[in-house]
Symmetry: C2
Subunit: 428 residues, 2 copies
């Protein structure tokens, strides 16, 4: 890690800058693939899968045998773990369901909001080095709780034309309604525009590489909603002398192993502590299977030593990390001063990996500083809140004058008239 001691405030923005996550340069290629699927549907998908995933599929649906095999091929200890995680995630996300509350703003004028599940949602689960069945839980469970009727999942097949059995097992467990072996841009296209086989969805969720992210941005221009902008995963740890250097090193490595572009930041009030962490990093790194990836991510990572906890909080709010671990004295009071972060882990026994898998919170979170304006995924992400209003005759009369005056001042006569015509009818 690069150690920076007491950087002046004006240097923070450049110090905290993430590497540019450019998708604009990919737009031409991605748009071509999107158009290909839009025009040639299932046929294009088969071809693109052969080209990019190196496997020629007859089709990309599952038959009953494959689904049954997936259950059998998932070790029972892992199934038990997935069920436990799913229960915790469901318990936390259930608390996010809101029921309508009728507000009478003035007598006779009742207003409320009702949450309605988005009818059709798409979930993308990347392939690559890690089979992210945990993300199936994190997206599928809130979708189900929200009341989404069609939950479509796409994930790229391996060279044998298969998905990891735990992905299929998790999908069945949480109530995904459609599973397809489709990856990359062609998966986003299939869910955005629909094909003979794949239903068109209203909103697309899930992580992916730069091509997938670019595809999500482009289909958004065509009116398909997406979960949030995506960038490489990040953790920031705030640690003082009350923290354990080997815990902190383990947490930093758990982020670093995601990818060479993972963002790892340590903010500390203690130079001695940072040096201890650096030694621990070297020691723990050796034992990791993804050592090379983690080492690369660490090369670009920073440890910032600050004067006091106030500066630490200010730096963190400027950075707006996806994950923030508060391994410091009184983490609760520090946490209450954080205004920009995706998810906050309090104290020495709340590692990020608890939340990544099983504590119950969601692990799909805003990266790349977007925690300044975006929340992580929740049941909210899978519903629309429709407003309702019901005016009694008296209610209408009670606000008539207000509406008439405002409509007139905005020069909108017909708006005014919709009120006046009713008032006149009632006064007849």
């Amino acid at each position: 890690m690069n150690i920076i001691i007491n950087p002046p405030k004006f240097a923070w923005p450049s110090l905290l800058q993430r590497p540019a996550f450019d998708t604009v340069s990919l737009q031409k290629t991605v748009r071509e693939i999107l158009n290909e699927v839009k025009e040639n549907g299932d046929h294009a998908i088969i071809e693109l899968t052969q080209q990019y995933d190196k496997v020629l599929l007859k089709d990309f649906e599952f038959d009953e045998v494959e689904l049954m095999n997936a259950e059998a091929d998932t070790p029972s200890a892992l199934k038990k773990a997935i069920i436990q995680a799913a229960e915790n995630i469901e318990k936390f996300h259930s608390s996010q369901i809101t029921l309508p509350e009728i507000i009478e703003t003035i007598p006779g004028v009742q207003c409320w909001r009702k949450s309605v599940g988005i009818e059709k949602v798409g979930i993308y689960i990347p392939g690559g080095s890690a089979p992210l069945f945990s993300t199936v839980l994190m997206l599928g469970i809130p979708a189900k709780l929200a009341g989404c009727k069609q939950i479509v999942l796409c994930s790229p097949p391996n060279v044998e034309g298969k998905l990891h059995p735990a992905i299929i097992y998790a999908a069945k467990l949480v109530g995904v309604t459609h599973i397809y072996k489709i990856g990359g841009v062609q998966a986003i296209a299939a869910m955005a525009y629909g094909t003979r086989t794949v239903p068109k969805v209203n909103k697309i969720f899930g992580p992916g590489n730069r091509y997938v992210t670019c595809a999500k941005q482009l289909v958004q221009e065509d009116g398909i909603a997406i979960d949030m902008p995506a960038g490489p995963s990040e953790v920031c740890v705030l640690a003082d002398d009350s923290a354990h250097a080997y815990f902190v090193a383990a947490d930093l490595l758990s982020q670093a192993e995601h990818g060479a572009d993972s963002q790892v930041l340590l903010v500390s009030t203690s130079e001695v502590f940072v040096n201890k962490v650096n030694l621990e990093l070297e020691k723990q790194l050796e034992a990791l299977s993804r050592k090379d990836i983690a080492a690369k991510a660490l090369q670009n990572s920073k440890a910032i030593i600050v004067e006091d906890i106030k500066d630490a909080i200010d730096i963190i709010n400027e950075y707006a990390p996806e994950h923030l671990i508060l391994a410091c004295n009184d983490p609760m009071s520090v946490g209450n001063k954080i205004i920009n972060a995706g998810s906050i882990f309090l104290g020495n026994y709340s590692p990020e990996s608890a939340g990544d898998y099983a504590s119950g919170t969601n692990h799909t979170l805003p990266t790349n500083g977007s925690a300044k304006a975006y929340s992580g995924i929740s049941v909210d992400s899978f519903v629309k809140k429709i407003t309702f209003q019901k005016l009694s005759k008296q209610g209408l009369l009670n606000i008539a004058n207000t509406v008439e005056l405002m409509a007139e001042a905005e020069g909108l006569d017909a708006h005014k008239n919709a009120i006046t015509i009713r008032v006149n009818h009632l006064k007849k």
Copy 2:
């Protein structure tokens, strides 16, 4: 209105299609203006204002005298109406504030969400034919309730270099912190990138023409959040024989007067009723100041006559209107079957214009079918919900095995190790 009787289901999508709201063709022009402001800041804004708004400003800030004059120049009856509307809007939106609820998913594992206001938000209020001070209330009030610290408002000056006094009055009333005389793409650029005068914001809200909409889409690619995709305003009225034809005609006209591209749709189970509405439309149109605009919008509008209320509901869910007026028997039970709409108005005395101004609900709503995936503006739109978690030592031990198994199966050793290292420490 064009009357269509019992269209077959396969014809619905083409029948309900909105005119394409193309912004892609504008991207080059808009990107140039964005870059100009990004590079030359305040200076570029002065020049662009002279070019597009035909007024040369010394600067685009307000002095105290202008702010005081705005208050004096707003008639007191209108001020009273604005205050009444603001109170109702505040009452309804206050109910959207959520407090953290701690959920213990398993013993020792506590999770919760905390709403935190987005620190800096921008509000765009268009100029043009109507001074939309009502939109200032609809965006400023939830921003203030959410706890946003900087609320920046931009609106184009008229040829005398002024804003409508009611816009300034409403902005001061609801607690807007910065007001600038800047319009169009240059306003979006100023708020997205910041200039010497205008603070950079995290999220931009508000309606606008195609150029403004395109600018919002483009700055989104640069990481600035926006409220929602925008298109021309829409109303759908579902009416049966229990409705009043002159009420329905007035409601359709109140949408039609917004612009020639406004979308007006009548769905009815009764041909007789539709004919009555058509006669009323002609009669009421004559009296309107914006007659020409409304007449043009009506030329493109449709009345669809359906077999029964079930078909009506299905057609509406396919269309996903921004505003839906249910002028029919038992509107509550019909409303509960609607899954795609922005805001629903129940019964004969709940006209859209009540919600446009003063009932308390928000009037910034999803258009162009985006009600299938988006909600209207609420306090939710101005907050991020940060998740927190706190594990006790026992809590960590309770989920340790689950996390370890899942991390291992995903091939993420370092994630597993962040747990194991703590478990070993506790078992020492």
